[in-house]
Symmetry: C2
Subunit: 305 residues, 2 copies
């Protein structure tokens, strides 16, 4: 039996990347033979974090041999994982999303409805009596800032804030300055193709029977992203056709103002009008005060589908 | 919003009943308004436990109003729960079985591959700094003895043994004497109808595409149970017809000798012959050394289905 591989979801965000590193460190401290992995490219925000902390990215993998032992972090959704996820042996899952997986065997599953996987990882370190060093604290803190948009997202819980405050002390990081720099680094879209921008944080989500993709980017200027509107629309239409989608919603979130607009295409676009009681004008809908796909988009869109 | 209801699976065993009581005690200590419930009758073994410890059984319920908040213990399998499980709000799950549920929302989910839910509950008390009193320790210990057949089942882990040893001290219980008395109390089938015997611990399980029921009873004498063979077979045939089953397997487990025989009926009965490399003679198959449905029956039967 080789190493146990640890990874988060495809299109990895800062939480998936840092949680695989942080979990690998914990498992190694507990004497287990593991390797931190990732299922996709490092995004700009995560790149900023890893550079700042001087940490190497986890190893890129596309799949794993059947029967490999794996640990999942920040997801339990088969659609976001390796193609043969049903043929590997999942030893553990640590996640903060809805339940999306069934297994034929019992395993260690730890999910809590908090804003970030790292908030749970912090507790696992405490429960196992493993010290959180300065670098590990920096990785955990970065993910909490990322997932909660500096504590402004409605997904952010008291526990996330409390844990982040503890971690900031250990990491010797000024949360507000570092946090805004880190989030802004993630808004740099200059090196991406249109297709890559749509895929930075895209989730395939069935809204009842409506096959959908809801993608999201963070920005400091929604207008700047909308200069690419025509190209984005063309690429979205192409994806709708190729994937047989009913809906493609591309959410552009202003991390400074904590609000969003979305480009909405597809035969089920009207769901968004019903969900938010807003008209879609020229394919764009206003999502005032919306920043969280998990809390403010998926449930209300599902309800109105 | 009313009380949060806490319950385990239908056909409740000692783990489901005690875990609902033990979880209710923990939640109350944490300041939450909860009520321990059960989805079925108390079995003889659990009756022995509750009488011994002087504890009242949880409240019997058949369903819960839509939107009720619930906490699940010892199961996350919708088939073993209330009919409208999809319309209530599951706040927490503590379980030691495979993953069998998907949700549209994040929740607290704590599963570990240990022998008994109470082994996890013990850790939750510790993590929350809540004292385990003598009665709570007795309830937890009884469930661990029940689920692991006094530590003899292959589902039993080192952690179960370690936790049980701690609990026995707090509960001031001699594990071997109490444990065997308790397990023997559970083998008393005298007051049951044939249908009730088949339902004491019956699980609907799909073995790949084969619709199956695998039921189990504990006994101190397999031969004594087999005096009812003709009646059991007739009731099993009736269930096969009524439920459109491919397989009905009734496992009779000798808790003293730690071995089993099973009555196997249905068009998919041959799966058992293949799984155990044993002939079915007169509808009976020898399952030498088999005591755990979860570890020694479901996986190997699924593999050979």
């Amino acid at each position: 039996m080789g190493k146990t591989l640890i990874f988060g979801h495809k299109n990895p965000d800062t939480d998936s990347i840092t949680s695989s590193l942080v979990m690998a460190n914990l498992e190694k401290k507990l004497g287990n033979d593991v390797e931190a992995c990732r299922l996709g490219n490092i995004n700009k925000e995560t790149e900023y974090v890893l550079n700042y902390l001087g940490v190497e990215a986890p190893k890129f993998i596309e799949d794993a041999e059947d029967k490999t032992e794996v640990i999942l972090v920040d997801t339990a959704n088969p659609d976001e994982l390796i193609p043969n996820i049903e043929n590997v042996v999942i030893k553990k899952i640590v996640d903060h999303h809805k339940l999306s997986m069934k297994t034929s065997y019992p395993l260690y599953y730890r999910a809590e409805p908090v804003g970030c996987t790292e908030t749970i990882m912090y507790k696992l370190y405490k429960e196992n009596g493993v010290e959180i060093d300065k670098t590990i604290a920096g990785l955990m803190l970065s993910a909490i800032i990322s997932d909660t948009l500096l504590f402004k997202s409605p997904t952010c819980t008291e526990e996330d804030v409390k844990v982040a405050t503890e971690l900031a002390k250990i990491a010797e990081i000024d949360v507000d300055t570092y946090g805004m720099d880190m989030l802004k680094a993630g808004t740099d879209l200059s090196s991406f193709t249109i297709e890559e921008i749509l895929n930075i944080d895209a989730k395939k989500i069935d809204l009842k029977d409506k096959k959908s993709i809801i993608a999201q980017v963070n920005t400091a200027s929604i207008d700047e992203v909308l200069t690419m509107k025509a190209d984005l629309e063309a690429a979205m239409e192409k994806s709708i056709e190729e994937n047989g989608l009913d809906l493609f919603m591309f959410v552009i979130t202003d991390i400074v103002e904590s609000t969003s607009k979305a480009i909405v295409l597809g035969n089920a676009a009207h769901i968004a009008e019903k969900a938010y009681n807003e008209k879609i004008v020229d394919n764009i809908i206003e999502l005032k005060g919306v920043v969280s796909r998990k809390k403010q988009i998926v449930p209300i869109m599902t309800e109105n589908a």
